[in-house]
Symmetry: C2
């Protein structure tokens, strides 16, 4: 079963908004046995919407659209779909009531443009959106052979509609084979190194009905194994057997055997081991703490962090010595080790990780060029430290330092 996604909005084409909706929808659909065949982003123009819809429906039976349902003038998706399906907009009193309540509940004034959001195409099934004022729409063509769904582009509203309205209807409407995935997270080795390591095994995968993909990001590679079958047990068994084989070949590079970020992997591992952690961050500026605390349940393992951008704070809150700062400077092995040890003691945790570096683009020198990052880990076995260099990009330096720090905690606590 194939589907296509069409995302609508000039802001996507102009690069002012990153389309995060498609990836989320792709993952959800895939888990329901629907494979996304193509994602198309187009502008808020009736002609563009009609053309994209024509083309998508010529290739697949199911099209999901997001965007262009807001109350402002540039939002024309609803009118365009009504014309496309040759139906008219009529006032939906139940929806009008909902929208009125929505504004009343928030103490906002309801405007004429919001009233218009209750005008719905007569031929569609309205998908109620309790999170906003733009409703979703489910259109059918050719006695249900083709389905077109339209949802608002705000991710939070789209996700609610997908989970509560669209996906349950998809399960009912089509009876589909299951796609089973497993994704393993490796850290610290490149894609080609990994591929070489498992070369012979990989060559036999296809004949076992399993496909593989390498998903590289700076400093990490996710490895995805998948199989499709009408029997979910068969698909699962096929993939799990290959996961076991992969772990034998490359297991020491794997930091998580689930499809999760490094932050979630840390939280899961430390929770299981009943361990706690803290961070003392200079160049990462709170990004390690933020990546841990973005994970639900992280309060069980995370006690806190001192972001010590200023040297005085390194001294007053982490106990870094004046001598170390004077003699070696803030970006040095002795300072980062003192930061980690100080954080472990003062925050009372099992593991404390510390960073100090020159994130860039400014602030480098000949001895300490932009990109140099010292990391230290203080744990039950003492303090360890290492020096990394990821080059000139600030974002990349922070991102890779965060990943190194998180992977280090996982390897130490495993």
């Amino acid at each position: 079963m194939l589907a296509e996604i069409i995302t609508i909005g000039d802001e996507l084409l102009l690069g002012q908004t990153i389309d995060t909706n498609s990836a989320w929808m792709g993952a959800q659909l895939s888990a329901h046995g629907v494979r996304v065949h193509r994602i198309t982003s187009i502008s808020d123009e009736a002609k563009a919407i009609q053309a994209a819809l024509d083309e998508a429906l010529s290739r697949v039976d199911f099209v999901l659209m997001t965007g262009g349902l807001g109350p402002t003038r540039d939002d024309i998706t609803k009118e365009t779909l009504a014309a496309y399906f040759d139906t008219q907009l009529v006032m939906d009193e139940a929806i009008l009531h909902r929208i009125t309540e929505w504004f009343a509940g928030r103490g906002f004034e309801m405007l004429e443009v919001n009233r218009h959001q209750a005008m719905m195409p007569q031929a569609c099934k309205v998908l109620v959106n309790p999170r906003g004022t733009a409703m979703g729409m489910w259109f059918e063509q050719d006695a249900g052979q083709k389905v077109v769904v339209s949802m608002p582009g705000i991710p939070y509203e789209m996700k609610g509609l997908m989970l509560e309205e669209v996906l349950p209807r998809v399960d009912q409407h089509w009876k589909l084979p299951t796609r089973y995935h497993r994704t393993l997270l490796t850290q610290g080795v490149g894609e080609s190194f990994l591929s070489q390591l498992v070369w012979d095994w990989e060559e036999q995968l296809e004949s076992h009905g399993v496909s593989i993909a390498y998903l590289p990001a700076p400093g990490q590679v996710r490895v995805r194994l998948s199989a499709v079958d009408f029997d979910p047990v068969v698909a699962k068994e096929r993939v799990e057997a290959e996961v076991t084989a992969f772990l034998v070949l490359a297991g020491n590079h794997v930091v998580s055997d689930q499809d999760e970020g490094l932050g979630a992997a840390v939280v899961r591992l430390l929770t299981k081991k009943k361990l706690t952690m803290a961070t003392a961050e200079s160049c990462t500026g709170g990004a390690i703490a933020a990546s841990i605390t973005s994970v639900p349940g992280s309060s069980a393992i995370f006690k806190g962090s001192v972001v010590a951008y200023d040297n005085q704070i390194k001294q007053s809150m982490l106990g870094v010595s004046d001598e170390a700062l004077q003699e070696h400077g803030a970006v040095s092995e002795s300072v980062v080790r003192q930061m980690a040890a100080g954080a472990r003691e003062r925050l009372g945790v099992d593991y404390a990780v510390a960073t100090s570096g020159v994130a860039g683009p400014g602030g480098g020198s000949i001895e300490k060029p932009v990109g140099i990052v010292w990391i230290a880990l203080s744990g039950p076995r003492g303090v360890e430290s290492k020096c990394l260099n990821f080059g000139n990009s600030r974002t990349r330096n922070i991102e890779r330092s965060v990943r190194e720090a998180l992977a280090w905690i996982i390897r130490a606590a495993k």
Copy 2:
């Protein structure tokens, strides 16, 4: 001048990678007078690539592709393009030399699959990628009327190639009208409220040759005004006149008059005013600090942060009183005010912002439901506090709390 972007990779369709490349490319192209007409994401299949390329070239003269150039088996873009342009792959000795050096410089072993990355299509102009082992390609058709560019999908490598190789060639190859944009960042009001506020003015915009777009995100709306003209001065003047008019109507909702994030706006404002700041974070877990420190130059205004997830740390590092914690609990007005005041004093800054809330999805109670967030700001005029509630989603609670905190600093320091 219209272009299309094609991003290649099963991981995009399966939702395991968010396509951030297209937005970045769209913004860059737009600044060079190239309007992106469509973005298409497809799988790593030769047929899909050929079909998407055929369609794109039937609509526009310039196609940019990313992805599928890695060393692993699922990477087939280069072979597919060679076949599409009816040319063969030949060993490019200069590129082979570069790749060999690249591996030698990093102390990694060079593999046969990496050698193959130096096999380039004979008919293309090779775009040298100094950041990795997959080179870019520039193909021309119909005596240069049509151009197809292929780049690796890793954002850092793609960006380098765009800035150093592709965009300079675009400027040379086509002589284009300029598109001038201004984007204003508003915070705390909805899209429909804003649109209503400027309704009459907006109605005249088109006749002045200026277009408007509202780009909403939770808690903020960016407003983009743009004009296209062969004379860059004319395009700029047209837009700037309307920016002035918008600021008269809605200026008190605007937190930045540039196309930047709230973190960058804070850094710019405080730097200009020679002010410093710190954060004391519970429910935001370091995310406010991270959003400030991700901005280059933030060390001039940001001294540090205490992420106090644990109550003991609220006491020991921020001086929150035992009484306040016992009597009101960690998520309370008195605790968050003490956190802000403690951070301002102990970190020695002009402004300290503090958060304490129930981010969710767990941890709520009847008195303190999931989503409740107390924020306090301690500054030269004393301590202020407010209570917010953004609902059930952890990500959204953190994101919106961060935005509220940053906007509050801007409004206080302006």
